[in-house]
């Protein structure tokens, strides 16, 4: 009599174990995501609407759009937007065109391709800070190698880093150099996925290399190009690390605020830290990135049709 309920209980325990087994695999992964990705997103979203948020006492005087009003009327944020968008509009077209050209050449049957690839890709794995210092050395006004080389073209030494009129271009040059390896890798792998029969067919039809490039290669590569532009745009909107080795911050005259630097400034440099402004600016950045992504998807669809 008494053995039946015991057996039944054992069955349910076993079934419970079987049914909950997924938690053993799921939880180790998900706990980290929950605490360090999911919760912060919700928290940033909520904090951005809290008025007069005190980060020590966590008290606030009410809900509202005050943080957004402040950020959107802050001249430094305007400057940050201007610089960030300017950076995207300079770096993306130049780096994409250069990368298409280099990837196409690397995709030819060339000798020493391993050596070339190593040279083109190695900047990808190195620290933005450390290499940035090398660029700072190269950009040096008085003894920099760049000004020395420009001297051969009769160009007078440029104060790349110390002059607010030039430091934006220094930032862009370093940015283009730093983003090229990643861009070339993606485009090269896109090129390698193109079936060679298209080239053979075009050659049979009597097309020359230039025509093949513009009429066959580019159209077939277009999806990859769009993907690369999308990923790079997102990463360029977040330009930040490069500012530190080159300028130790936002440039000589505080003229090189970027959106992420503005966020960093609000909650890490300012005392007391302004979490409300930082989160509002972060949300604005997210919305900008989101819109940029949607816009590119839209254009991509338009072109594909």
């Amino acid at each position: 009599m008494s053995s039946t309920p015991v057996k039944k209980q054992k069955m349910t325990l076993e079934q419970f174990k079987l049914k909950s087994e997924w938690l053993v695999y799921f939880l180790p992964f998900f706990i980290g995501v929950l605490i360090f990705t999911l919760y912060p997103i919700v928290n940033v979203f909520l904090t951005s609407f809290k008025v007069d948020f005190n980060y020590i006492t966590k008290e606030f005087s009410g809900w509202g759009l005050d943080n957004y009003k402040y950020v959107l009327s802050d001249p430094y944020f305007h400057q940050a937007l201007k610089n960030t968008f300017g950076y995207v509009f300079v770096v993306i077209p130049i780096s994409t065109c250069l990368a298409i050209l280099i990837a196409t050449l690397l995709n030819q049957k060339i000798k020493l391709s391993g050596l070339f690839q190593t040279a083109y890709f190695v900047p990808m794995v190195t620290s933005t800070i450390a290499v940035g210092f090398s660029w700072r050395f190269m950009f040096s006004h008085n003894y920099g190698i760049i000004n020395y080389l420009l001297g051969f073209f009769n160009i007078a030494p440029i104060n790349w880093l110390g002059d607010p009129a030039n430091n934006f271009y220094a930032l862009c040059i370093y940015g283009i150099w730093a983003i090229l390896p990643f861009t070339i890798i993606l485009l090269l792998s896109g090129l390698q996925n193109i079936d060679p029969m298209y080239y053979t067919a075009a050659k049979v039809d009597g097309a020359g290399p230039i025509r093949i490039f513009f009429r066959v290669t580019i159209p077939l590569l277009l999806p990859t190009i769009f993907m690369v532009i999308m990923v790079n745009t997102i990463s360029c909107f977040k330009v930040f690390n490069e500012l530190f080795p080159l300028f130790q911050g936002a440039g000589v005259a505080n003229n090189l605020y970027t959106v992420v630097y503005y966020i960093y400034y609000q909650f890490r440099v300012l005392v007391p830290a302004q979490y409300g402004y930082a989160t509002a600016a972060a949300l604005i950045l997210f919305i900008i990135i989101f819109i940029a992504t949607m816009f590119q998807r839209f254009v991509e669809k338009k072109i594909n049709n």
């Binding site: 050449l105 290499v131 990643f182």
Partner: protein, 278 residues
């Protein structure tokens, strides 16, 4: 015919010329950094610049090590990298297995949610994570460089894709033989997924080694800094001796360059497949 051949070879020469100039531009900052690390104080500020240092004595490195605790920066970088990468690899493997082979409530909803979260920039969540680390009492602790990076949606998603491509009959065959999920994962799935895993580990290690924003937020004291942050503070506080700056930068950059030379194919393939910056 002859003319065509001639044109072709002229084109080839142009290709090589262009590629060589480009390649030199790409590696030049490294050349300048490493040679700069060996230049003397007068060589480094001479104009026209000195192309090759006259001696290869390690005096600049020695001085850099004397002025800042680069050895402990190095150790901290290694500890943070090994800690976060090994834990993250574990959670990535089990998480990918759960999403690829196990059934549980709201699985597809969760997966869609996670994909959406991938769009959110790290720079945004960093604000809260900074507070979380302080609240957890981990501020200025080496653990602060490990704990927030113990799981990654992106790597989980990549590995899940690979797990999905392993035929389900393998799983059924193992189940029929009485193989538990746990054993199947570690004895069958993981060995088969080894190439993907190596790539994930490499990309994760590179990202960890080079990270700057997060250590600069979470770490305060010299003894707990990692290499990029330590290097930055060294330059920022230690004045403007360029040759020391170059020597210190070389210490940060060299391990990753060596890693890249050995594992170029895995890293490049991983980046090409993942479509995310390494």
């Amino acid at each position: 015919m002859k003319k065509l051949f001639k044109n072709l070879s002229f084109g080839r020469v142009l290709i090589y010329l262009f590629l060589t100039v480009g390649a030199i531009t790409m590696v030049f900052p490294f050349y300048w950094m490493i040679t700069g690390a060996f230049k003397s104080g007068t060589e480094i500020i001479s104009f026209p610049p000195v192309w090759f240092p006259t001696s290869f004595a390690l005096t600049n490195f020695v001085e850099a090590f004397e002025r800042a605790p680069f050895l402990s920066y190095f150790i901290n970088s290694v500890v943070a990298m090994v800690g976060s990468v090994s834990i993250c690899s574990f959670t990535t493997i089990v998480g990918a297995f759960a999403f690829s082979k196990l059934d549980f409530p709201f699985k597809n909803v969760l997966l869609a949610l996670l994909l959406g979260l991938m769009m959110v920039p790290f720079e945004m969540i960093v604000i809260t994570n900074f507070r979380t680390i302080i609240d957890l009492g981990l501020y200025d602790n080496i653990l602060a460089l490990i704990v927030p990076f113990t799981s990654s949606i992106f790597y989980m998603y990549i590995l899940k894709g690979f797990f999905d491509s392993i035929p389900n009959s393998l799983y059924q065959a193992a189940r029929v033989d009485g193989c538990s999920n746990w054993k199947y994962l570690w004895k069958v799935m993981v060995p088969i997924a080894k190439p993907s895993l190596v790539t994930i580990i490499l990309l994760n290690a590179i990202a960890s080694w080079n990270s700057f924003l997060w250590p600069s937020l979470a770490i305060l004291n010299k003894v707990n800094k990692t290499l990029p942050f330590g290097l930055y503070s060294f330059v920022n506080e230690g004045g403007s001796r360029t040759e020391l700056m170059m020597a210190a930068s070389t210490i940060v950059v060299l391990p990753m360059i060596i890693l890249f030379l050995f594992a170029r194919k895995q890293i490049v393939n991983g980046v090409a497949r993942g479509g995310l910056k390494g």
